[in-house]
Symmetry: C2
Subunit: 276 residues, 2 copies
Amino acid sequence: MTQKLTDHSRLCLHTITTKPWSLQQCIDGYNRAGIPAITVWRQALEPQGLAASAKMLKGSSLRVTSLCRGGFFPAATADGRAKALDDNRKAIEEAHAIGAPLIVLVCGAVPGIALPEARKMIADGIAAVLPEAQAAGVKLAIEPLHPMYANDRSAVNTIRQANDLVQEIGSRQVGVAVDVYHLWWDDTLEQEIRRCGKAGSLMAFHVCDWLTPTREFLNDRGLMGEGCINISQIRGWVEAAGFAGDVEVEIFSTELWQTDQTQFVERIKQAYLNHV
Amino acid sequence: MTQKLTDHSRLCLHTITTKPWSLQQCIDGYNRAGIPAITVWRQALEPQGLAASAKMLKGSSLRVTSLCRGGFFPAATADGRAKALDDNRKAIEEAHAIGAPLIVLVCGAVPGIALPEARKMIADGIAAVLPEAQAAGVKLAIEPLHPMYANDRSAVNTIRQANDLVQEIGSRQVGVAVDVYHLWWDDTLEQEIRRCGKAGSLMAFHVCDWLTPTREFLNDRGLMGEGCINISQIRGWVEAAGFAGDVEVEIFSTELWQTDQTQFVERIKQAYLNHV
């Protein structure tokens, strides 16, 4: 049995989890709730721009865990792939500006591009932006996505693939983000988490829950405890592999976004103690 | 490049693919269309009963490829697991009665039962009914299901797991059903198909397509060519592994079930030549 979490000192919320809130509302709301850390989604930067966002975050007491998200490297044309690189370079600048030590990569997949080809474009894309990431002191975490997203969101669909890719790239700057939603079903998860930890590549840990039935592919994730994932077991594996960083709550839920977000944050805090 | 299919001599339709049709309508419709083979779903047997169904099928010129489906072994109680065994024994009788040499197993998963435990119940369940299957001369094909079904339909979610399970059971009576819908995303698919063939365990090949977006989890599969799966490539792997059996079209689609089924069968025949 994994030891229970007894306080919120490692709890981080993704701004997307409280999507109805602006960045300022997230900062204020998380602060009020005693949540120490934030992962910033790039769309939360847009309304007020990067400089103002960075000022807000640096003026707050929140720790910035990561920036979500870079990636989406595959594209049908060379021009499309070059644009993806530019966008990743912009993300690196943004991460640097807001003090995020890490960017989460949703690696990308495009209907019409075969998976092996998409995976090659992903490896090439990461290699291309690696110098900028190194110069900015920003790490890049490959997040393997559930196989149900293989055709349009990420061609990296298992932690084994992510570990292989990190090994192939061979830079301490590039690692893996473990999200229980994407990986819980995999019977090699424990061993691949161990491998990832041994390689010093385990850079992030995301939690939410898998609902049954899941009513649609994107925005029907559950609060921890509402679904079937043994989150504390996976946290135990991650910690046994040496990870001691923030536990990031990333929930996309049309249903939960419609609830009062202040109360929702309190429910998250409770679910974190009970089910993570 | 896989050699193109030039006739329909290996084409098999699942009765569920033309769900609005009764078994008799399926038999007549497939016959009229020159389709030589049928896989019978158990609910198609119910209205007229097993004896009448068997008579219909034996009186037709259709080859019965398999019976769908057995499995669903995991259950929370011993009584529930015993009922599942009874149901699988009934399926074996049905397969024997209609002349189906094979039963496809959707192995089962139950919310609240951890996957390793569910997998143990699956292995135990198959072992328990194996003597009856052997006595009836009916083979059992484990169909790994897409990881998005891991919590409620099958705890066997990759072909590697299915191959491992077949190896563990160690009987020529038990093998694997390869369905492109469930397995297309897996970067170990080619090697595991080869392994499956070498073991003499490749017992069935199911086709349809993966739509993007997929609007819901169960009944939004596409006709071959409508989605992203490189079906002919996978058929090539399956044939290189020694499989020369029927190519079974299994499509669950609320949308396609609403169309004229006679015309739909013609579309399937065309899609089979163009995209399988």
